[in-house]
Every structure is written in C-alpha cells, then in structure tokens.
Symmetry: C3
Subunit: 201 residues, 3 copies
C-alpha cells in the first residue's frame, strides 16, 4: 500500500512542523526544536509499537521518519519567519496525517489481534499521543484534553475501521473510508469550530 | 485467585474515578476525562508490563480494565454533581485498590525473577505511576512527590511481600497479609494525617 | 570493559545526585527525592532499552544501578546542607557520566543494528532523557530544551562513535575517543558558557 506510506510521510512532516513551531513559540533552542519535532511526529506510533511489543518501533526500523522529522524541524527553525504563510495550508496536511495515523494505528492493532476497544484506543493514540508529549514538554496541559481539536474525528474513524474489519469489504477500501471520515470530520470541525462538551461547572 | 481479580477491578474503578475527577476539576473536555480516567487506572500496571517485557500489557489482553475505566470516567463526567457524596467512600475503595495493585505488581515482578529492590520498586510503581501521569497531564508536580499520601504504605507492603516470598508461607496468604498492611497503613495515614519528612530548608 | 562499567556507575551517582537535588530544591518529600534520583539516573537508559526491546532494562538486570541511585538520593536528602560544597565538583562527575552514557547508548544501538540517525539519537537520548523526565516531574520545561547544557556535546560524541564504527579502529579506542570528546566539549561549554542559538523572535 504505497499510497498509505506516502500519506504517512506527509502526515509525519505536518506533525513535525507543528511540534517544531510550538518549540519556536516557546523560545526553545535548536535542540528543543528538534526534540519537539521528533516526538510530535513519531511519539504516538512509538508508544503504540511499545505497547504491542513490536520493537524497535517503526521510526527506528525505517529511518525515513527520522530524516523527515529532523529535516522539517530544521527548516522551521531557520525559516519560520518566512513560513508563516504556510500556517493555514499546514492544517490541511495535518488533517491528512491525522487520518493516516488513525488508520495505520488501528489497522496495526487489529493485525496484532487487539480487541474492539483496544484497537480503537490504539488508533486514537497513534494520532494524538505525540501532540500530548509535545504539550507536556512545553509545560502545558495538553490542548486535546481541554478543547476538542482531534479526538472525536479520530474516534469515529478508528471505530469505523474496526467495524468494517468484520465485513467482507477489502481492507484497502475500509482504510480509505476510515481515513476520509477522519479528514472530513477534522476539516468540518475547523470550518465550524466544533467542540466537545465539558462537564458542567 | 478470583478474589484478587475482583479487588483489582474494584481498584481500577476507584483509580479511574480519581483520574476522571481530576480532569473535571481541571475543566477538561470529555476526551480529557476519558484519558485521565484510563491512565490513572492502568498507567502503573502498563509501565510495569512494558519494563518486564510482557506485552501487550494486561489491560490490552483483558479489555475489562478498559471497559471499567471508560465506564467509570463517563459516569463521573455526566453525573459528577450527584457523585460528590461518594467522595469519602471513594477513599476506602481507593485504599483497597492500592493494596491490590501493590500485591499484583510485586508478585508479578517476583514471578519474572526481579531482585529485591526491583520487585519492591515495581510494586510501588504499579500503584503510584498512574497517578503521577495524571498529575503531569494536569500540569502539576505529582502530589505523591510532594506530600505523603501513598508511598510509605506501598513500600511497606511491597517489601513485606518480597520478604514473605522467601518463607514457606503459601503465596495467597502472603499476598493477603501484604495487601492488608498497605490498606491498614493507608487508612491510618488518612485518619491521622501522617506525612513523610521533607528535607530541611 | 570494566573501566566503562566503573565510569557508568560514577555517572549514575552524579545523575542521581542532580535529580535528588532538584527534588530537595522543589520541596519534595523523601519519596519524591528517591523517585527523582532514580529517574534522572536511569530514565535515559531505560527508555533506550524499551525502544530496543531489550527488557527488562539494564537497571533491573543489574540492581547496582538501583542501589547507587537510591543510596545517593538518600544521602542528598539527609546531608544536603553539608553537601553544598560538592556542587562544583559534581559538575565534573556529571560530565564523566554524560560521556559514558552517550558511548554506552550509541554502542548498544549499533550492536542492535540501528541506522546512523537512530544510533546517534539513542546515544543522545541515553544521556538526556532522564533529566527531561526529572524536569517534567518538577513541572518545568526541560532545561535542555531551552538552554544548551548538554545536547551538542552528546551529539558530537554520538556521531563520532557511529563514524568510527565504520573504521577498523578497535571499539574500546573508539569509545574512549567519543567519551573524551563529550567530556571535553561539556567542560569547555561550562568554562566558556556556550549556548545553542534560539530561533529569531
């Protein structure tokens, strides 16, 4: 599935850019920009692989993920004043990455025979844990825990993929449908500013 | 040992409630409440299993732990104004969970042939690491690092179990004795407001 | 390689002291001092071993690391008013530990057949991740992400070792050279107050 691999690298680049940008905003030095770019892009998938016992994790088996993460982080570090115009387009690449990460994470959990809830959880985690580590290293409560940005879209896509896995639908089609659901929900959430409810005060 | 499994689920529910409550207090959204409930209840045992190389961790092998964590977190999210009366009883269930987690963690480390200090450490970690991750995600210094709440009771129980493991005492009896020590010390600490010393200023 | 093992224990003690000191400064209790001493000294190597799939991690296979970490942390807790005179010498032991951790981490990653970037990253991570966890548990942005203290020296040593690994130079000599580079750069950075650049504002 070469398309999925390509989209995965696109998502990796978009997530690395968001991590590096957060480091620049927080006045970190070059090392901080590299670390935040890396953990944002690869943290979720790495945690998934550790939990599945599939070590070394994906990004150490295929160093393209490392080269892209560090390359993008370096570019953001040196060029960020000129890259501001890319902030809006970045949201679209980020949504593509989100859908891809959910599908890859859920699919891998299913192939390791996780149950329904475990597979959904690992799909959501693959797409969201890197951003949580980024926020913890920036000494902030992870944004995703406070304000809906990603979670519902990931949940819907991961649950759909687990359900489609029980049907005779070919896996590539199921993956495509699930990824499109995540991407569409994410873009709609940006467009209409959707948010999850909080508990009553 | 069905009693131990039952107590483990009780402890899981109590820990999930404490995590979800912290999320509600910190004005997190529904996703944050689910995540904090889950990591508080299963984080310690998951870290233990990762360190022992026993993957996937317990909560992915037996999804009951996930269903209980998410179920309790959902209940806290929707019903927390009516659940305040349960805050005090929760402390007792929490103490039961503490004793159970220490015994399960220490016992598992012993069965994986860890040494004295390693086994004690893993027992304490099983019971305390989830709460530390909860506090880190809430952007706070973990409460347990600042003010005695759990640590001494866990340490005493874990060390007792490691020592009893060298004696001919049957394992279920040793586990019961260690769990009771943790629970009793914990309840006494609540009752008499015990605290560990801090370093002199 | 007995010298390397000895230097590793020296570094473990120095890192444990830095973690325990941070806990004392942050007014943590005895348990906090023990936890911060342990994670600072063993966190980087433990994360490396988890990623390589070599479980249980080094410090659970050889409990000397645990005894040294807890012993040093206890000493700092009880004796810290009298240990202040040791703060400056500690920097030298810390530099020795840094060089040793980088060399051990990079070498282990190479023996597990990691690629160039993966091996460098694991060397740097072995020496720096424990300090990052210490800072996260102290509710601070990790110092190393904001202000150069370690990162460049570790990077240079790890990259040198990976390059020398392709040459016929005997491994112990390569390790020695890489460790000396890290230690020399670190001491020069302290002496001349070097810092990495930040992104322009």
């Amino acid at each position: 599935m070469n398309l999925l691999y390509f989209l995965d690298l696109v998502g990796t680049a978009a997530f690395a850019a968001s991590g590096a940008w957060a480091a620049v905003r927080n006045r970190m030095d070059l090392f901080g920009v590299l670390v935040l770019g890396l953990v944002t892009a690869t943290g979720g998938g790495t945690l998934r692989d550790l939990l599945l016992g599939d070590t070394p994790p994906f990004c150490l088996k295929d160093e393209n993920y490392l080269y892209i993460s560090f390359g993008v982080a370096l570019a953001v570090f040196f060029l960020h004043p000129w890259l501001k115009a890319l902030a809006h387009p970045l949201l679209y690449f980020d949504a593509v990455g989100l859908g891809t990460f959910v599908v890859i994470g859920t699919g891998k959990a299913l192939s390791f025979h996780m149950g329904f809830l475990g597979a959904v959880m690992m799909g959501v985690m693959t797409a969201t844990a890197g951003g949580m580590v980024r926020d913890v290293l920036s000494n902030q409560v992870p944004l995703i825990l406070r304000r809906e940005i990603y979670a519902s879209a990931c949940l819907a896509g991961a649950a759909l993929l687990v359900l489609l896995d029980k049907t005779p639908l070919p896996q590539p089609l199921a993956a495509l449908a699930a990824a499109l659901v995540v991407i569409a929900l994410r873009l709609l959430a940006i467009r209409y500013n959707w948010a999850l409810p909080r508990a009553r005060g």
